[in-house]
Symmetry: none
Subunit: 132 residues, 4 copies
């Protein structure tokens, strides 16, 4: 019950189209049900620092089965998960751009997007996460 490479490419194609539409080059990563990388692309001109972030956003979305944007709310100072970004050897990303990918209601992987403002990353991730 995990997405495969063909699924990952479908997701990335949709996300890439959205990134092109909004005019913001992105790093886009897809992980499987085990949280392991299936595919990554860095669009021309996208930030180098976002390679790692996109992969980790995808990991985080699968690691907790929720959008990283939602995790952010709980990871602020004084909130219940404040400090979670120090766990998992620096792989937990607590801002928008990571979203679980579901098939028939079951999480089969996740997408992570990084390269723009938070709402841009989020919209590109949404385009990808709903492509299956």
């Amino acid at each position: 019950m995990s997405l495969n490479l063909a699924d990952a490419r479908t997701i990335i194609t949709a996300a890439e189209a959205k990134a092109t539409e909004i005019g913001q080059p992105m790093n886009i990563a897809v992980v499987d049900a085990g949280g392991n990388l299936v595919s990554h692309v860095r669009m021309d001109g996208a930030w180098l620092g976002s390679i790692d972030i996109s992969i980790n956003k995808a990991f985080t979305a699968r690691a907790f089965d929720l959008p990283t944007k939602d995790l952010a709310d709980n990871a602020q100072p004084t909130q219940q998960f404040y400090g979670i970004h120090a766990s998992n050897h620096g792989r937990i990303m607590i801002f928008a751009g990571g979203i679980p990918v579901k098939r028939d209601g079951v999480v089969v992987g996740a997408i992570g997007v990084s390269g723009g403002a938070g709402d841009q990353d989020q919209s590109v991730a949404e385009a990808g996460s709903t492509a299956l």
Copy 2:
């Protein structure tokens, strides 16, 4: 003066029963008096990202001989231990779910629980920490 594997299993059994009772699958870890892992279980369906967190909560609770929930108060911005989560190579967890385990008033290890909301993690950790 440290808990052993049989103790860890008693603690995990009690914690697991509580997790089942509240309907939230958890990662549960127990460390000994040296802060080193004695046992870990990931219940079916529990978050992958919580493996590391449960082990680190247990370490943290023993490392400072206090519930990680209490550490949280002191680790917020402007408080005296703000920044402590950057120490110990990312092993310090500053939110609820880690509790020292005592025998005859002496800390002999700790339990760490991760997989739900903060109060869920805390209630499962409490069930485990009082099982000896």
Copy 3:
């Protein structure tokens, strides 16, 4: 298609019985099909340094779908995989004690054992890997 916690406990019970039989306390770890930890136990008196090794042996056996003992042959100086132990952030163990666990011919996880001589680790891992 992954082993679950009940499977992991069956595997650990069999491995632990073997370790007791040969009189050598062990660290025993089981990972799922995604390479993520499902359960770990450290038997009383087992080496502290073997906590990490047992978990990483299990990861390695799943990461390459082969016994770590076989990987060792290929990871010696002048052999084709020499240097592989530097990859995956130090998680690749290239000596005996890690074995994939299969169900109906498919790898569904792996066991890692550390705490004794290589042949002891291997025999305990074999007892666990064939328990399902």
Copy 4:
């Protein structure tokens, strides 16, 4: 003077075709002239442990502008670069499968392949590195 995403895809397509031809699923990664990841794919069934290795082989091939296979000869015990695999935070891979990619005689990036025996990785990397 660096390869871009379109180039990376051309390289990956050629490498993937070779991997399919020899019947061995692979992880394939391409880095740019800066040594930074441009794209990665994990073919269905390819080893999880090879995600990191493929990316690092590509990095290494660009980092030293030579095939990782050649580096191996110099990285054996008693040879001049013995110990180099401990540098660069574990990113240096000293076995076959990483090859620089040139355009008009200039290195513009590199490909890294991992998932089979050394000669399989090498042949797939060669198919990719000559695709531009």
